[in-house]
């Protein structure tokens, strides 16, 4: 077995060091080595977006990143979206609009939507739907998710 590597990274704003095997994905390292189980594995191959995190400001699938790749980089996961125990407006609006049922896709959608609003604080419906095309939801039919994101966007604008 390949030896374990120590990886130093900034995780949700905090300097973090963890051990991983080179073959572990970032998603596995977050969930299994660091206990951050908010990011979900829906497909494990880049198609569903349930594992999405923000890596150096860029939205990525954590199931398609190797854990050692994040040495010296900065990662934001769903656990880093709320601040000081106060829900982020996106989280609040997902609750108000009932934008989740089983909830498996929700962390990925919220992280993706956060990356969208960081990039474009006033997206229209087309922008939201296009940006979220790589996030799959088996339950909601998407409409309530899109409405929640637009509600936050309008409040910001």
């Amino acid at each position: 077995m390949a030896k374990r590597i120590a990886v130093e990274t900034t995780l949700n704003g905090e300097e973090t060091v963890f051990l991983c095997e080179p073959r572990q994905t970032l998603l596995e390292a977050l969930r299994d080595n660091l206990g951050l189980i908010g990011s979900k594995e829906g497909c494990g191959n880049g198609n569903c977006g349930a594992c999405n995190v923000i890596l150096d400001g860029v939205l990525v699938n954590s199931c398609l990143v190797l854990a050692p790749e994040i040495e010296g980089r900065s990662v934001v996961t769903i656990e880093g979206i709320a601040e000081d125990g106060v829900l982020h407006p996106l989280q609040q609006k997902f609750l108000e609009h009932a934008s989740l049922q089983c909830g498996i896709c929700t962390p990925g959608f919220i992280v993706s939507a956060k990356a969208l609003l960081d990039d474009n604080p006033a997206p229209n419906e087309y922008d939201v739907r296009l940006w979220l095309a790589g996030n799959l939801c088996r339950c909601t039919g998407y409409d309530k998710i899109v409405r929640a994101v637009l509600d936050v966007a309008e409040n910001d604008a």
Binding site: A2, R23, G46, L55, N61, L64, P68, E69, L116
Partner: protein
Amino acid sequence: MQAFDFVAPTSVDEAVSALAAGGGRARPLSGGTDLIAQLQEGRLALDTVVDVKRIPELMAISISDDGLTLGASVACQSINANQAIRDAYPALIDSTHLIGGTQIQGRASIGGNLCNSSPAADSIPNLIAHSVTCHIAGPNGRRSVAAEDFCTGPGRNVLANGEFLVAIEFPAPPANFGAAYLRFIPRNEMDIAVVGAGASVVLSDDKSTIQSARVALGAVAPTPLFVQEAGDSLAGQPVSEETLAKAADLAREAAKPISDMRGTIPQRKHLSAVLTQRALRIAIDRARGTKTVDELGRLNGHG
């Protein structure tokens, strides 16, 4: 995933050594959107993964009057966000906007798309239409290969043991140049091309005659296909639907597709002609300065 070693060299020479030492069992890692998925699914087994993204040359974008040099590992997202590239090479943006969704574009590179060498890869017909040169480093030094000569079969290319792609170089667009890439998929987003077509033209100064043109197709042969005769048929011809239709017929004839779950042979041959003609029209509109990337985004199914 099975176990492997991970190295992240910071120079081209170190990467060449690591790749050469690993033989066929070491591979470069750019965005990982093909490589890690293949490792996860057990379609590929490696001893060493060589992350080439810490090599400055692989992540560099250099655009000037001489053209555009794109580091092999630059992510589509960085290309989409670069206004100078959007202005000078709108057809490149056609491809970088189509590859996967937002989070795939955050990692997926043009170099990875080329080196994965899928017959359906969305950047390669475009690279051929743009007469791109691929710059390769290896144990015997550097060499360059034209984009149309890079792929040799499904998942196979000219890279020898220890070699890897450093950068791709787009020549400066000549005056009155335009290009476009279109693909057909049954949904709006997130799918693999049934057929893709890249085209470029150079028009006369009064923009009524085609001086030269290039056409390339995806997903209709074991490799992305350069249809030289289709472009050549347009040289010296007036811009008209008739001349474009003739080039489109040549594209249909050149296409040697297979039938599979995405499409049949007759459908793919038909699409080869239709997409070639449409891509040529957009290339001409762009050469005349009448079409923007956002308008094309709509033509590509983006709303």
